[in-house]
Symmetry: C2
């Protein structure tokens, strides 16, 4: 009973072994993560087009719910860059930024996403995420990084630029360049420069100064907090907001509010497809982080339970003033490196953020939006990596095409169209490849019982016996192709009396392909040629036995191609010795 | 030069051999087909929601254009039942039946369909039609037959029923039952009964009366003409139209008009998807008829040239007052049986219909719509055939699911949704089947060099050597599955020192799968287990050589599984003799 329950509530499993050591480790990790998350949460809320507190709220209830239902010990759930961008894109289509409708639509998006994830998890459909291939994800994240960085440039310049794709954004930025606010630009550019230096230069410096690498790493991660503190102080002290520097302003002080997502059918209809997309992308991002971290400690991640954990987190966000969340890469790695041992570390982080939202919000009144934009830009540019283009180009052009399409469409037509085109193109290219299967004419490798392609190997053949190895499962898309191929090959060689289809690579024969085989058998019989099969696999043979095909077959089914050769070839007469 | 031209203009090929014998055979066939086509064309125009003359016009220019560009010698192009239904469904969504806009939209649909088909043909993309599997087509035609027959019942009853799916239609018919026009019903019901009797009873009767079967068959085919003549005469003589019997009324007398399809962007946008659907369904129907007939005379059909022929026919329909056309089954079979030898028979049929539209239209003023509905009902009910459900159920459940979905969705949500769901479900089920591939653990069949599944055959195995035969191409959808499977299998058997992946059924390895193989190799190396491959196919090996995988591989690549066994197994030491 407890075992069954603990499948759906992993907390019952690790909760039993909780002790003081685990507690102190989790606590240290939580403090570090909390400090890192405060500026990050504010920044991602800005990216999603929501008020800053939404980012904090989206990190509290979701973390706790994931701690209860999730299977990863180190995953930190909350707002992440790509999902924030997707949220802005989806919600921007149904409501104006800054209105109450916008915030409600973000809640609805989180609710739909949570409901969808929990449903997938309960139906054990986690494998569906495999449709998003790794090259497509890599391309998508790179393109998103570029889009996000570009979208934040307006905050660095202090202008009102906008646009739905890279060209529009860049064009709008250039058009608004003359209106650049110089003070904002100084703050934003210094923050970007500082954060890049912290990332690349500070850590080696600290290590040379004698700090341990891990501590140096932690301190470097606190860079954004320093940037936030310094720019807020300067802006407040000098009253820079009067010079046109946009600041965060008043952030409500208090517990996350109880909120109700909008469930009007029209709103749900408009947000359903984006919610599904956000769910799948979020899930794929989250599970790859979770598995990377779990592998390091030889722990196990259950993809279906992860769906439930992330779904619960999103439902939590929907009812506490948040927006769609998932497991983030940066925050999870920090959590893991800081020594988090159980999901309780997440719960402590949530408490830290709760305290922040109760007491710290007045302190960020003067925080410039340019600083937040700088933290986003520096974070996402580390995601940009075009090496996947080079790798796939060298290996397989179809994969390259899928990556290139994902990147170009994401940049040119937005994130939703980008992912959709990557997935659809991957599937179509896969089908295209199987539509014209490789069919090799094979012969016997001398001195063995092994048969290989006559064009690649020096093999023995018999002019009256044609053996074709079909290198693909037979199904509706390629069934007619095989039919045409066999008949054309026979028209070329009128001496052929026996045709063997070697089925070692045929893993399935669907009904359309069965009809094609029946047709081949009939046509060959009319020409006085017998059709045989060899090396038919067990599951395929079981299926063929359920049809009339085997009764009508003019020839035989041989267990091995060697047996077919012995029965049908003239060359088989002199006894051949196997090698070895 | 002429050869190249005759690829695109098959008329240059058969035209050179034309003589008096061919002419007289073609002429006889043309007369028979013309007589059959007159009522059929009128009826299908009614089904498409167009005035009756549109059906005649759609049979004239298209037939001539197909004769010039098409490759089938016997295919008769013109309005057919399913395409007429699809036209009514598509055009009904953009214009009111009976308006000028409706007719123009039908022309636009023909134009778009023609342009799409010609484009596919020039790009040699005929293979795309293979995505419509045979079971899906069979299910779709059966469901369409039911929908069409139901939609015509209102004309038999003389009521105004309507509806977009089977339930709505049936409900509306029942609701309107009290308003049935008794005279119309008598005419309609008698016509249906007569036509069924002609089809089932007349032919045997005529044969028993001493007629030759072929002549008896031809006479039976003229049944609709008799029904049209008798009911028109009776209605006209008794003035039944005054009693509420709906008649065809005035049909313009003259040559087909020159018409211009509407090309407003909005209209084109609304009709593009239906036009693509109509094109593909029409093409698949047409090519299967053409290939069936060509096979009987050992002639060849070129699918890409067929696309051009059908495309030209539709463009012709668009500019001469017609609507979308394709090669019809019934008319083509009649043409073939009547002895048509070349596409010239089609041209003569066009002339016959031209004469009919010049001189015969006043004679059908009193033709009751109920008679036309009766000819449609009897024609389409012969298309209804549920046996595909039984056949696919017995053979393969995935095919059954695709057929059942096609039938149910077509009946419940209309023809377009029906075909789309059939195609999409076929593709998804195919992907699902390849997502969790069959992986068999294999051992040596004693006395051979052949390896088979340990669960199905009595084979020799080695506890330190695990050989897995992967029965599917490896690609993004199943890459992770293989990774998990291998690691789980190893966790069960700690004695294993060598793992061989037997790749005889792996026809492709995409980039995601390459990464999975690299991961498997890395993980096994950590456990001190070596990974080997065997029977890797030529194209797959070429691809792997372009990556670093083979350099990193902890084990070897063996030409055959037998070679792997000899190198790695303890049992291989005593020399084994091959059978035979």
């Amino acid at each position: 009973m407890l075992r069954r329950l603990s499948r759906y509530l992993p907390i019952l499993e690790w909760g039993r072994h909780y002790n003081r050591d685990t507690f102190s480790n989790d606590m240290v990790a939580a403090i570090i993560v909390t400090i890192m998350l405060i500026p990050q949460s504010l920044a991602y809320a800005l990216l999603a087009g929501l008020p800053p507190e939404a980012g904090i709220y989206a990190s509290i209830a979701p973390i706790v719910l994931y701690a209860i239902f999730g299977t990863s010990r180190a995953l930190a759930v909350g707002p992440v860059a790509v999902v924030s961008l997707l949220t802005a894109s989806a919600v921007g289509q149904v409501a104006e930024q800054g209105t109450a409708g916008y915030a409600v639509a973000a809640l609805t998006l989180a609710f739909l996403s949570g409901a969808f994830l929990v449903t997938l998890g309960l139906l054990r459909l986690g494998w569906l995420a495999n449709f998003l291939s790794h090259p497509v994800i890599a391309g998508f994240i790179t393109a998103s990084g570029i889009l996000i960085a570009t979208s934040q440039m307006k905050h660095i310049l202090g202008v009102e630029a906008q646009g739905h794709n890279l060209l529009e954004m860049a064009g709008s930025l250039i058009a608004h360049l003359p209106q650049t606010n110089p003070v904002t630009f100084v703050i934003g550019a210094s923050a970007v420069a500082f954060l890049f230096w912290v990332r690349k230069g500070l850590k080696p410096l600290l290590i040379r100064a004698g700090l341990k690498p891990r501590l140096a790493d932690m301190l470097a991660k606190a860079g954004p907090v320093a940037a936030v503190a310094v720019t807020t102080l300067v802006t407040g002290a000098l009253g820079l907001d009067a010079l046109g520097v946009k600041i965060v302003g008043e952030v409500p002080q208090g517990l996350p509010p109880l909120t109700m997502p909008g469930l009007a059918p029209e709103l749900v209809g408009q947000l359903l497809v984006p919610a599904i997309l956000i769910s799948i992308i979020g899930f794929v991002e989250s599970i790859s982080v979770a598995e990377t971290l779990a592998a390091k400690k030889r722990q196990r991640i259950d993809p279906d339970q992860e769906l439930i954990g992330l779904g619960a987190a999103n439902l939590g966000a929907a009812f506490t003033g948040g927006y769609p969340v998932t497991g983030g890469f940066a925050r999870s790695v920090v959590n893991f490196d800081a020594g988090a041992e159980t999901p309780a570390a997440g719960a402590f982080t949530a408490m830290g953020l709760l305290l922040a939202s109760l007491f710290l919000t007045p302190l960020i009144f003067y925080l410039p939006k340019a600083t937040l934009a700088a933290t986003i830009i520096v974070a996402v540019l580390s995601l940009v990596d075009f090496s996947i283009l080079k790798k796939t180009w060298g290996y397989r052009r179809a994969d390259f095409a899928a990556v290139a399409a994902t990147i170009l469409v994401t940049l040119g037509a937005g994130v939703e169209a980008g992912v959709a085109s990557g997935v659809i193109l991957s599937i179509l290219l896969h089908l295209y490849n199987t539509a014209r299967p490789h069919v090799a004419e094979v012969g016997l490798v001398p001195g063995t019982q092994h048969f290989r392609n006559i064009r690649r190997h020096d093999v023995i053949t018999d002019p009256e016996l044609l053996t074709l190895r079909v290198d693909e499962s037979l199904y509706f898309v390629n069934a007619r192709f095989l039919e045409e191929m066999v008949l054309e090959r026979l028209a070329e060689s009128p001496r052929i009396r026996n045709v063997v289809l070697m089925m070692s690579a045929v893993n399935d024969i669907d009904y359309s392909a069965l009809e094609a085989l029946e047709e081949i058998n009939r046509r060959l019989a009319e020409m006085g040629v017998r059709l045989h099969l060899s090396e038919v696999k067990g599951p395929v043979m079981d299926r063929l036995k359920r049809s009339h095909f085997l009764d009508e077959l003019s020839g035989k089914v041989f267990l091995s191609q060697w047996a077919a050769w012995q029965a049908l070839s003239r060359h088989a007469r002199p006894p051949l010795r196997a090698a070895g």
